[in-house]
């Protein structure tokens, strides 16, 4: 590769990074603007919008609601996803490729299609739109991600681990809980945080499956439709910081996983 193309590519890389970060940086900045009017230039600064958000009981209750959904979704996704991975990982059987493809299906179906399909389906199985419908929708979406991460980790587990446990008198269940599950721990932490992020950030499923109580993204969307305001920036910035912390934490546990410790 010639020197020029190398320089060109590094310029493209950094330009792309700028494209990724500048909008978010602008959004954060705008939350400190001392005016109701969104736009540049910013002449004076304030923390009032953050104070308003912290005192806004609606925002706080919606935040709690979103958190509850995210935690419930994460627990369910981890259990089902791990079970799917333990089933599909080591076992060989006819039609496995099809089952595997079906297991991954919700990860690639366009969000709107899956949201509407689940809404109709929730009606069929008598789940009212609301918290449980959203949890179902998010869990359906997240299970494939958990299953893939856990399968990847499972494939690196030495067979001797389980054989040793069996020799020491453990049956399948005990061997799973005492040997396999601790081995999977870093993968489960990483996948779990990822589930929290996906659920907490999700808009389209929460919008179509939810009842009257909005989740945080749905609330931001509703506020946005009635006009931009720095208050939305303040809420978004808080969400941004939370997601960044969660994401970095997930990244760290996944990296440890790759090093194989």
């Amino acid at each position: 590769m010639t020197r020029n193309t190398r320089i060109l590519m590094s310029v493209i890389y950094w330009a792309f990074i700028v494209y990724l970060f500048v909008p978010l940086a602008l959004m954060v900045t705008m939350g400190f603007k001392d005016s109701k009017f969104i736009g540049f230039p910013i002449r004076s600064w304030t923390l009032d919008w953050y104070a308003a958000v912290i005192q806004d009981t609606q925002v706080l209750s919606v935040f709690g609601y979103s958190m509850t959904i995210a935690i419930a979704t994460t627990i369910l996704s981890l259990i089902i996803g791990t079970w799917v991975a333990v089933f599909l990982g080591p076992n060989q059987f006819r039609g496995k490729a099809i089952i595997f493809a079906l297991a991954c299906l919700p990860a690639v179906i366009p969000g709107i299609i899956s949201a509407i399909a689940l809404r109709i389906f929730a009606r069929l199985i008598d789940i009212e739109p609301g918290m449980f419908a959203i949890i179902l929708g998010h869990t359906v979406h997240n299970v494939p991600f958990v299953a893939l991460v856990v399968m990847a980790r499972l494939s690196t587990q030495p067979k001797s681990h389980i054989e040793a446990a069996r020799d020491l008198g453990a049956d399948s269940i005990v061997a799973f809980f005492r040997v396999t599950l601790p081995y999977l721990k870093p993968a489960l932490i990483g996948a779990g945080i990822f589930c929290m992020l996906l659920s907490f950030d999700d808009f389209v499923r929460a919008f179509f499956l939810g009842g009257y109580q909005p989740t945080l993204p749905v609330l931001i969307f509703a506020k946005l439709r009635s006009g931009m305001s720095p208050e939305i920036n303040a809420i978004s910035t808080i969400v941004l910081i939370m997601t960044a912390i969660l994401g970095l934490w997930a990244e760290r546990s996944m990296r440890r996983l790759n090093k194989g410790s």
Binding site: G39, A103, G111, I116, F121, D201, V204, R225, M228
Partner: protein, 272 residues
């Protein structure tokens, strides 16, 4: 004695375990029960039901009227301009956005995989990852602030003296494209990166020794060997970009109505 040891000694547990694990076959089906149930019930069920309702002449079911099988809904879909125009527009938009995403992210992925030292790769990759943890709505809003009439781009152009009045970026196909690419680029980047990372350096060196120019090396070696990454990246981006709802509502205009908005519109009219 530990909890697990006690459990293994417990008579009731032993009886249960013995029935559960009596044969390999039974053990397999017990393990398979929940995954298979979940896959067919939660993954396949809603899709099949939605497809099935497409053939019914009335939904939700009315009292005293058994739904009849019909193809009318499908015919209406293909004849009604309200459906068909947004449908094909969505496909066209997604196709264009996917192509642009590929063009932008390929050099980025290549740079990351081949020109960044192993030690720094993780850091550079992390820089790309961080913005993608943020949700759809927040990132869409960020783009609105970037491109608005009083947004950063217009301000920058104005202060450079290039324009007198703001360019109306918002509510067009352009703003929608910037937003969608912002949301989906990662799904292209990661497959490309993992394909390019596997490409052995010595293939390229060998080709260079044999006198192949930069363009020939790219066309004959790099491109064919990253084909899989390109294919999976494009599929992912295409599928995912058709599914956004809030972004087109907030960034798009009347002339860029996508299918998701049409579906949602009818859905809300129908009530359920």
């Amino acid at each position: 004695m530990t909890f697990w040891g006690a459990l293994l000694q417990n008579g009731a547990y032993q009886a249960v375990a013995n029935t559960l694990f009596k044969s390999q076959r039974r053990q397999f089906w017990i393990l398979a029960s929940l995954p298979l149930f979940w896959i067919f019930f939660a993954n396949l069920g809603p899709i099949v039901e939605m497809f099935w309702i497409g053939f019914l002449d009335s939904y939700p079911p009315k009292v005293g009227h058994e739904p009849q099988f019909t193809l009318a809904n499908w015919a209406a879909f293909f004849q009604d301009r309200v459906f068909i125009i947004p449908f094909f527009r969505t496909l066209a938009f997604s196709f264009i956005f996917t192509a642009i995403t590929l063009l932008i992210t390929y050099p980025v992925a290549y740079f990351l995989a081949k020109h960044v030292s192993r030690k720094n790769q993780l850091l550079f990759l992390l820089l790309l990852l961080i913005p993608f943890w943020v949700g759809e709505i927040v990132r869409t809003y960020a783009i609105m602030i970037l491109l608005g009439n009083n947004g950063a781009v217009n301000l920058a152009l104005k202060s450079l003296g290039l324009i007198d009045r703001p360019i109306p970026f918002m509510y067009t196909g352009f703003s929608l494209g910037v937003g969608i690419i912002y949301l989906t680029a990662l799904y292209m980047l990661l497959p490309l990166y993992s394909a390019l990372e596997k490409l052995p350096d010595n293939y390229l060196e060998a080709a260079a020794d044999l006198g192949a120019g930069a363009w020939t090396r790219f066309r004959r070696i790099t491109l064919p060997l990253s084909k899989e990454g390109i294919a999976s990246g494009c599929t992912l981006v295409f599928l995912i970009s058709t599914g956004y709802y809030a972004t087109p509502v907030l960034l798009g205009g009347p002339r860029s109505t996508v299918f998701a908005e049409t579906i949602a519109g009818f859905f809300h009219v129908a009530g359920d």
